[in-house]
Amino acid sequence: MQLNKFYYRTTKKGNVIKVVNEIYLRDDIPCGHEQCEICLSKYKERTNSEDRAISSGEISSMSANQIYILDTNVILHQIDLLEDPSLKNIVILSTVLNEVKSQNRSIYNRIKEVIKDISRQFYVYANEYSQYTSITRENGESPNDRNDRAIRIATDWYRSHLHKYQVKVFLITNDKDNLLKSKSLGIDGKTIQELVFELSSENPSLVDKLSDPNEDHSGELEDSKSKIQYAEHRPMNILTEDIKNGKVYQGIIRINMNNYKEGNVQCHSIEKDILVQGLENLNRSVDGDVVAVELLPEIEWQAPSTVILLENDGVEEDDDAVVKDSLVSKKQPTGKIVGIVKRNWKPYCGAVDFRGDATSQGLHFLTFVPIDKRIPRIRIKSRQVSNIVGKRIVVAIDQWDRNSKFPTGHFVKDLGPLGDKETESKVLLLQFDIPHHPFGASVMKCLPKPDIMDRVTPSDMVGRKDLRKECVFSVDPPGCTDIDDALHIKQIGNGLFEVGVHIADVSHFVLEGTAIDDEAKSRSTSVYLVDRRIDMLPGELSGNLCSLMSNVDRFSFSCIWKITDQGEVVDVEYTKSIIRSVASLTYEQAQIRIDDKTQNDQVSTNLRHLNRLAKVLRKQRMDRGALSLASPQVKFKTEEHGGDPSDVEIYQLRETNAMIEEFMLLANIWVAKKIHKHFPGCALLRRHPTPKKSGFDLLTQLIENKGFKFSTASSKELAESLDGCVLENDSYFNTLCRIMTTRCMSPAVYFSSGSLPYEDFRHYGLATDIYTHFTSPIRRYPDIIVHRLLANAIGMQSVSLNLENKTITLMSENMNFRHKMAQYAGRGSTQLHTLIFFKGKKCLEDAYIIRVKANAFVVLVPRYGFEGTVYLSDGHNQVSSFNYNHDNQTLSNGSHTFSVFDKIKVEIYVDDSIAHDQKLKINCIEPNIKDMLLISNTTPSQVDGITPTQNIQKLIKSKQEKVRKLTDHTEQTKKKIKTTK
C-alpha cells in the first residue's frame, strides 16, 4: 500500500512550500513476540537472508506474557529507570523513538544503547510503516495529539494481535489525557509509577530511580519561607526573538572553578566573555547549559573576582554578596541570565551530606553534594537512606524550580563506599567521561586468533619488507607491556647510517569501519591512572599481537632513513615490514649498556651509535629553538600490586629517554611531511599554537622582578631565557620557571591540514613546521589514522571514503577532547593517591608559591609534585589583613610579603572532618601565617562582625588615604622646589 505524506515547511527565504514524501505501508513487519508465528513466517517469506543479516544482532524479541508499550514522556523523564536491567519486554514504537530523537538527543542515544542490548528485550516496532497502525494527521489535530493517537492505535493493534497467545499489553504513559482515552478504547493503561510499584517488591532500588517531575513537593513549604526566588525564565519563543534582535546573547555558561557564584558565558556575537555574578543572576543555570544572557548597564559591570571561595556554603550562608574588589583588575561585560535555551544536565558523581540516623526507614529528603565544585547541590528523595549514606553515588537533575535554592534530582547509581580507592577511581573515570566498560562481544569478535603471528601467510607479506634479519630492539619504561616502537641502526659506509624506527602495525588488525575501530575511535586514547590503565584496544592486541616484544615475529610500519653522522637525512623510506626484535630493554638497562664500556655486543654498540646520533639531532633541534619544558611529574611506589602507595619518587629521566624521544620525533616529523604531501587537504597533524604574547606578560614581569632577563619574542629566545633562569642556591627554581612557562601556553592539538593555512601548522614547543603522531598507535587513536593515511600514501591500502577534511576535523575534535579528559583523569588519580598517601600522616615540606590570589595563594610541593591552596583566612569570621597587589602578585601585611617564587615551609595533612569531601590541607608554617593572623586580629581596625566586603572597602579607603598622603607629599616637595628656585 502506498501513501503520500505531506507537510508544509518554510524555507530560509520565508516561502511556504509543500513537501511530499511517499510512504510504503507494509504488512510484513513482525510484532516481535516470540510466540507469534504468523508474523515471523511472513517476515521470513518476504525477506532474504541478506536483509535479515542487516538487522540481526540489533533486534531482540520479547517472550513474557506481559508486554509494555511506552509513551514518549516516559522515556524522556525516566531514562535512568529504563536503563535498569530488571525492566524487560518493552515495545518502543517508531513514533515514540522519533519524538524522543527530536526532543533530546542524548536520551535518544541512551535508549538506543538499551535497545541494542539483546538481553533487555526492548523491541522497536515500526508502527508508522505498518499497514495496520499507520495513521494520518486529521484536520485540526496537533502533531502531539496525532502521535498520541498513533501510540494508542498501535497499542490497540498489539492487544488484538497478541490476544490469542494470552499476552497482555499495557500502555505506560504519564499523560492523563492519553491514559483516559486509551481506557475508553479498552486498552490497559498504567502510569510508570504504578508499574514501578508493582515491580518494586522484587527490586526496591527501582523506586529511587523514578524521577518525579510533576509531583508537588511536600517539602516545598519550608522552602517557600527561604527568600530565594529566582526570576522567571523567559519562554523559548520570546528568547529566540530576542536573540535574533540582539537584545540578549546566547552562549554556553562555564562556572568558575574556584567560585561557584560566578560564571562566564562565551558568545560568538560578542568579543569578550560575559561575566555573570551571584546566584540571582546565574538564575538556575548549571555549568554547560546553553543560556540566554542579557547585559547589565555598563555602570554595573564587574571584574571577575579574585577570591577563592572556601566551600560550597549552602544554606547557612545567607548573603550572596560577591566580594567586590573592582579596584584591582579590569571590568568585564557583566550580565544576567534571563532564560535557558538548552539544558545540558548530566548525571553527576558525589555523595549525600547526611547528619542523622541513617538506619531510619521511610522517605527522606537528602542533599547531594557533587564532586564537581561548579555544580550546585542537588536535593534528592530516597527510601533507602542507609544504602546511600557513606557511598559515592550518581545523581541526575530533574528540575529546578523558581522558589527552590537547589535543583531536585534522583538517585541513579551506587558506585561504592566513600574514600575507597576502587570507588574513587571509578568516580574519576565517570567525572571525566572516560569510556571504561569492558570491550563488548562485537569488538572481541574482531580480534584475530592469538596464534596468527605464528602462521604468517604469503598474502600477509604482500608489500611488506622482511626485516627479521636486522638487529632491532626496543627501549621502554620498566613493566611496559604495550611496546609500540623499536629501532635499528647499521653503518652502510660513506659515513652513512641506516636508522629504522619500527612502529607496531596496529592498522593491520584494526580495520576501518569494524566494531573494534569504532570502539577505539570513541575511546581515542588509553588512559593511564596511577594504579591502572584503561586500554584503547583489547589486551590481546595491545599486550600481545601488536606489541613489538623480543624474539617473536611482529608486523610493523617502518620509517627508515639514511643519515650522515652530522644528522643530515639523505634518504627516507616508508614501508610496512615484519620484524623480530632481539631485545626489549628498559631505559635503565639501555643506559647501563651504553655506559659500560666493557660491553661490546651488537646491541650495545648500536645503542651507542644511536645515542651519539640522537645528541646531534637534539642539538640541531635546540638550535632551531625547541623548548625543553618541565612538569612536576612523580611516581608512586606501591608495596604490592594494586596496594596503597607507600612512597613517592620523582620520575627519573635518563639519557636513553631523550634518545628514544629524539628518534620518535624524527619519525613523526617525516611522516607528517609525507602524509601532508599526499593528502594536503585531510592529513591529520598536530600543532602547538604560538602562544599569545599577552599570556606571558605576568610571568615575564615576575621573573624580571627576580632579576633575570626574560624574552618571549620567539621560541628560541624563550628557550635561551629559560636556560638563563638559574638561582645558585635554589636548583629547583629553573624547573619552576619551566613549569610555569608551560602553564602559559595552550596545549598542542590535533587538526586536519585542510582547515588551516600552512603557516599555522607549526609546533611551537618542538620548533618544527609540521608534526603529527605516528609512533604510539597502541595507545593513541590519531596514530592509527596517520598509519592509514601513510599506508594510502605509499599505495599499500586503497583510499578510504572517510578521508575528507570534514571527517578528519570532526575526529580531531573528539581526539583533543578525549586527550584532555585523559590528562585530567590522570591528574585526578595522582591527587587521589596523594590523598591516600597522606592519610594519617602530617608532613613538613618545602613549597613554592606559584600564584597569588586576594585571600589565598597556590603552592607547589616539588617533592610530591602536587599543588594546593593556602588560605589566609580560615572561615568567615576571621578576616585577612593582607594587602593584595594584583600587579606584582603579592600579599603583604606590612611585616611579611608573600610573592610568587617564594619558598616556604608547609604542613600537609588530610582533613577528614567532612566524610564526603576529604581533602589535603596545606598550612603555611614558615613564615607562620597563624601568628600573623593573630596579630592582625588584635589590631584595632578589626571589629567583630565585619563582612569581607566592608573589610575590603576599608582597605580601599586606607589605600586611598595613602595615595592622598603621597600626592600631598609630592605637592609639598614641588612647593619646596619652587621656593628654593
Binding site: Q2, N4, N21, T47, I54, V124
Partner: protein
C-alpha cells in the same frame, strides 16, 4: 543539525521500503496521439512523460548517410520540484548530462543502420521529480521507443543504487539522494546482458562496490520484468483492438 538516520535498526528506509526494494512503477504507453510513440512513467513520486518523433528526415544537414541520429531534449517542468524554480535560458548542466546519456544509450541499442539519413527525436518532460530522474528517464524512453515501433536490439533498463551506512540500497528517492552518499547509475541490456552505461557520483568504498553493482543489476532485472510485462499487455491490447476493427 540532527543527522537523519536513513535506515532504521529493523532495516526499513525513510519511506518504509527495505534496502533491496524498488518503488512502485506505474506505466502507461501511447498517451499522446500526435507523437509517433509516447509513454507515461511513474516511479514512486517521480513522474515523467516521454514522446518520440521519428524516424524522420533530418531537418538540418547533420544527418549521417549510413545511420539514424538520436536526439534528446530533456526538460523539467517548473512545477516538478517542491520549490518552484525560474527557468533559465538554455539547458542546464543536469539536462545536458541526461540528454547525452539518453542519446548514447539509445544510439547503441536502436538499430540505427536501418534508418539512414534520418533522425529520431526523444522529448523527456519531467512532471514531478522525486529522485532517480536519470534512471526513470531512460526506462521511460525505452517504452516510448517501443511504442513508436522503432527497431531495437533490446530494452534499456536503468536503476540507481547507493550505499548508505555501509548498506547497499536500491532506487533512491529524493531524501536519500541528498544524503550525500554515492549515486551509482547503471543501465543495461537485460536480455543481451551488456552494460550500456555506468556512472557514479561521489565515492564508494572499493570492497563495497561489487555488492552495490550486484544490487543495481538485480534492480534493473526487476524493472525489466515489470516493463516487459507492461509492453506485452499493451501489445495484446493493441492487437485485440485491431482485430475488433477488422471484424467490424
Amino acid at each position: 543539525m540532527s543527522k537523519l538516520s536513513y535506515i532504521s535498526p529493523d532495516g526499513l528506509r525513510v519511506d518504509g521500503r527495505r534496502s533491496n526494494e524498488i518503488r512502485r512503477l506505474n506505466i502507461k504507453m501511447g498517451v499522446s496521439n500526435r507523437a509517433d510513440g509516447s509513454a507515461y512513467y511513474e516511479q514512486g513520486n517521480t513522474k515523467i512523460l516521454v514522446t518520440v518523433y521519428g524516424p524522420r528526415e533530418s531537418v538540418n544537414s547533420k544527418s549521417l548517410y549510413d545511420r539514424a541520429v538520436v536526439k534528446c531534449e530533456f526538460s523539467m517542468s517548473s512545477f516538478s520540484t517542491t520549490e518552484r524554480k525560474q527557468r533559465q535560458k538554455g539547458t542546464d548542466r543536469q539536462a545536458t548530462e541526461i540528454q547525452n546519456l539518453i542519446k548514447q544509450a539509445f544510439e547503441s541499442t536502436v538499430h540505427v543502420q536501418l534508418y539512414p539519413r534520418s533522425q529520431i527525436d526523444i522529448f523527456v518532460q519531467v512532471l514531478q521529480s522525486d529522485g532517480g530522474l536519470k534512471s526513470a528517464s531512460i526506462n521511460a524512453c525505452t517504452l516510448a521507443l517501443i511504442d513508436a515501433g522503432i527497431s531495437m536490439k533490446d530494452f534499456v533498463c536503468a536503476c540507481n543504487t547507493s550505499c548508505i551506512d555501509g548498506i547497499p540500497v536500491l532506487d533512491l528517492n529524493n531524501i536519500e539522494e541528498r544524503s550525500g552518499g554515492p549515486d551509482l547509475l547503471l543501465s543495461i541490456n537485460p536480455q543481451l546482458g551488456g552494460v550500456i552505461s555506468l556512472n557514479m557520483d561521489s565515492k564508494v568504498q572499493q570492497d563495497l562496490f561489487e555488492s552495490v553493482l550486484d544490487l543495481g543489476v538485480k534492480g534493473c532485472q526487476k524493472i525489466f520484468t515489470i516493463l516487459s510485462d507492461q509492453v506485452k499487455r499493451y501489445s495484446t491490447e493493441l492487437m485485440s483492438n485491431q482485430q475488433q476493427l477488422q471484424q467490424s
